[in-house]
């Protein structure tokens, strides 16, 4: 590459760096602001004195949040749905993508089955019929309502099947010659080789379950079954006290003042903040793989 050290070029490099620095700061700033508020005193926060650094440092908001069984129970529901939902989705994805990755000559109905799955992306029954289906299955107020309707992530299945298809055919053939059946080939050849793709889709499933709130609001009638994000939706955003019994009302007011709101937001965001930078190597590979195919 020809290096250019002219004045214009240097001004551009400095300007570009500054611009991108500001853009990055803009993405980080809101979180820092929330963090600063959560560690500030209620009075300073209410007066709008806090910007990016805590004023009158205190952990009272966190004591308040962690001392409340409602918040901790919602946290626990979220952990349960992440664990169960991710395990289920990953298992389903692995076994569903394998037959669909076969050539139609090896698996005659493959194209038909693939369309059965893809059609669900193109068309849906809509909110109300889906809600009534879940309700008629008796899953309202159970963990299953949060896990089963989205258990088969069709987009991820497509991503994984395209990954399977790019694996060398010879590996499968040699394992078949050695006498391994489809199940063994899948488990011993395909799964170990597709770990980067599985890590990517796994991360997205975890984040998806952790962030999901609408299904909790739709399918849960009792607040004690709410996952964390749904709980926060009612407490922080809608400040909805309809479901709250009289003796809890005082607690809810406490939980919805500015510093406590900030602390709850930060605690809910924290698991994602620590996980995502470490997995970025995997998922960049995975996303690019899934969207740009040969």
């Amino acid at each position: 590459m020809i290096t250019d050290r002219s004045l214009g070029r240097r001004v551009f490099i400095a300007g570009n760096f500054t611009f991108l620095f500001l853009i990055s700061f803009l993405c980080l700033m809101p979180i820092m602001h929330i963090l600063a508020i959560s560690f500030s005193s209620g009075a300073a926060a209410a007066a709008g004195k806090v910007s990016l650094w805590p004023v009158d440092f205190t952990t009272a908001a966190y004591d308040n949040v962690f001392g409340k069984p409602e918040y901790l129970r919602a946290f626990w529901v979220s952990i349960q749905r992440v664990l169960l939902g991710t395990a289920l989705s990953m298992a389903l994805m692995i076994v569903t993508a394998y037959p669909l990755s076969k050539d139609p000559r090896q698996f005659r109905l493959r194209t038909f089955y693939a369309w059965v799955f893809v059609f669900t992306i193109l068309f849906s029954g809509g909110l109300i019929p889906t809600y009534l289906t879940v309700k008629n299955l008796g899953m309202i107020d159970t963990l299953w309502a949060l896990v089963l309707p989205t258990a088969i992530p069709v987009f991820n299945v497509i991503l994984l099947l395209n990954f399977y298809r790019n694996l060398p055919k010879e590996l499968e053939e040699s394992s078949r010659i050695d006498g391994a059946g489809h199940f063994k080939t899948l488990w011993k050849i395909y799964v170990p080789l597709s770990l980067p793709a599985l890590a990517t889709t796994g991360l997205f499933t975890v984040v998806g379950h952790w962030n999901s709130w609408f299904d909790g609001m739709l399918y849960m009638n009792h607040t004690e079954n709410y996952p964390l994000q749904t709980f926060l939706q009612t407490v922080i955003i809608k400040m909805d006290f309809r479901f709250i019994k009289a003796e809890q009302a005082e607690l809810m007011v406490k939980l919805s003042d500015r510093t406590s709101r900030a602390a709850q937001i930060f605690v809910a965001a924290f698991p994602i903040l620590i996980v995502y930078p470490f997995l970025q190597r995997f998922f960049i590979k995975g996303i690019v793989m899934g969207s740009v195919k040969e």
């Binding site: 020809i2 551009f12 490099i13 570009n16 760096f17 991108l20 853009i23 990055s24 803009l26 993405c27 809101p30 602001h33 709008g48 076994v95 037959p99 669909l100 076969k102 090896q106 005659r108 493959r110 089955y113 693939a114 799955f117 669900t120 193109l122 068309f123 849906s124 029954g125 809509g126 909110l127 109300i128 019929p129 009534l132 289906t133 089963l148 309707p149 088969i152 497509i158 053939e173 078949r176 489809h182 199940f183 899948l186 984040v207 952790w210 962030n211 709130w213 609408f214 749904t230 939706q233 922080i236 955003i237 500015r258 937001i265 809910a268 995502y276 690019v288 969207s291 740009v292 195919k293």
Partner: protein, 334 residues
Amino acid sequence: MRVYYSDVEIFEPLSEQTFPLTARLQLNIEVNGMNGLTRIWKREWPLHFMLIPGLFLVLLFSYVPMAGIIMAFQKYVPNKGLFGSPFIGMKNFQLLIDYPDIGRIFFNTMFIAVMKIAAGLFVPITIAILLNELRREWIKRTFQTLVYLPHFMSWVLLSGILVDILSPSSGIFNQVLGWFGVKPIFFLGSNDWFPYVMVASDVWKEFGFGTIVYLAALTSINPSLYEAAAMDGAGRIKQTFYVTLPGMMPIIVLMLTLNIGNVLNAGFEQIFNLYSPPVYESADIIDTFVYRMGVQQAQFGFATAVGLLKSIVSFLFVSLSYVLAYRLANYRIF
């Protein structure tokens, strides 16, 4: 000993030239003592078996609700169910057409969605090109990691943050505007501002993530093209327009066509968490309307009819986008 068709295929001792198909089938039947279908089943049953759980769930949670669409043609009464409720023909759709706000709701949906698609294409491409100009790998990676942080947070948390930041009384954004002598603006409570705040905050959440795909496309452009352009006297800016952008064109076309399917998805999760009755005029979209009608007011038949209309139009747009992506960018779903 059993000789399967697949085994024959691997070793290929019996090619089409030496043995015609009928002869090969004949051979298989003689060896295995089975007819063709049984043999195929013997070979393929594990593949069918593996699909059972996935198919079961898709049938239950995607296809059964599709059958529930007939509610759109019923006066649905919850305790009578799908089979007991009376049919009323197209009355729900008539109601929909007569509904005073329906035009505005469709307009809001498309207005917000189209702006999001346009901005969601332009911003990530620009940022990707600028990021690619950074020479130090670790600086590039740090910036990249920071810009897609918001993508991983839910709209519940981001809405909580936005409500706080944009608050006209104590929000930091209005404080900063105050330094420049701007009076506090109630961004989330004003019909003039609301749709644009939705677009800006959506771009803010998603642009970093969008840059990933474009950066990958950028790094795959052959460096000798830049050298050749430089030899021909093209400066940096000309290189960007005549080498970089054409090199990214296939992926830009692909992303644009795939986004056509989203023209009716204005972002339910975002708007639902940020809107309030005073801004319904500019903020109400199809999905929020369906939710209020169906879940809050229990007008199941009517809400399903609105949802069905959206599903049909979306289906057409998504199909169109896949056909275009296939034609223009040779993209195939599977």
